[in-house]
Amino acid sequence: MIDAKKIIEIVDAAAKKIDAEKDFLTQLDNEIGDGDHGINLSRGFKSVEEKLATFADKDIGAILKGVGTALVSTVGGASGPLYGTAFMKAGNVCKGKFTLTDEEIATAFNAAVEGVKMRGKSAEGEKTMLDSLCPAYRAFQGGVDGGKNLVQALEDAVNAAAQGVEYTKTIIATKGRAAYLQERSLGHQDPGATSSLYILQAALDVLKKG
């Protein structure tokens, strides 16, 4: 179970995490992309943070939609429409809700991941954020179905995402700017998969604090 206030705390923590890691994300993107992932995403989350106060009395659907809209408007790179769509699609299934059960969180998570697939016309195994998000969602859903509590299920999701990031080092990119590098993308971890891991880690950190 999670309430709207917690969602805002998680978004805030994700924004701070992305800002703290922006140089590393940009460095990863310099290796196999266009070198703007960290800068772009931190600019986007900064604009999200500026809007957080206006979300205070909103339902979870409206909060997530607001986060998505801010990211789309301000990121400027591919992660804008991708994360923007993820938050908007998650928001769509949380309309009017001020609390979410663990099952409802899983439903929103799934909607977010499906949104990324749709927007990027992409699937797992192409060296993108989906390589951490898809295994993370499966681990989370499995944890919830198996009767684990929210923190345990999210811990499983974070571990799966971290493994997913490692997996991106072993595959050739077939989507995104890194795809132009073909086999030269081998050995590098994907910046998008890494930022997805950071967002999930931020959520776990908040929930662990209780």
Binding site: D34, D36, N40, V72, S73, V75, G76, G77, A78, S79, G80, P81, L82, G84, T85, R119, G120, G176, R177
Partner: protein
């Protein structure tokens, strides 16, 4: 006349493609949405939206984009606009812009131009 919007990561590229299209179709309604607000490389949701609105008529608008986030951001602008006569077309950017401009000046409809662009 059908309007044309050129979306690119680069302001210079978007304006250059527009210039080239105007060379053979001087009076075509065309707008460029290139780069971020501050001129840096990237794609701006607001720039694309404003560009479409600046030339929109009932005849419709064709949106052409370069790569990656330009395509995805344009898709999101169009989804939010919910207008059936504003279409993002997947074709080579420069050739597509030139062909669309000539066809638009020639009085072709939105669907006729889209059909033509599919062969570019």
């Amino acid at each position: 006349m059908v309007g044309i919007v050129i979306v690119s990561h680069s302001q210079k590229l978007a304006e250059g493609v527009m210039e080239l299209a105007q060379m053979t179709a001087a009076n075509v309604p065309i707008a460029a949405a290139g780069g971020l607000e501050n001129g840096a490389l990237g794609t701006s949701y607001d720039k694309i939206k404003n560009a479409v609105e600046s030339i929109y008529t009932a005849d419709g608008v064709i949106v052409l984009a370069d790569i990656g986030s330009a395509v995805m951001t344009a898709e999101m602008v169009l989804e939010d606009m919910e207008r059936d006569n504003v279409k993002l077309i997947d074709c080579p950017l420069i050739e597509g812009a030139v062909v669309a401009a000539i066809e638009s000046i020639g009085g072709r409809t939105l669907n006729e131009i889209i059909e033509k662009l599919e062969t570019v």
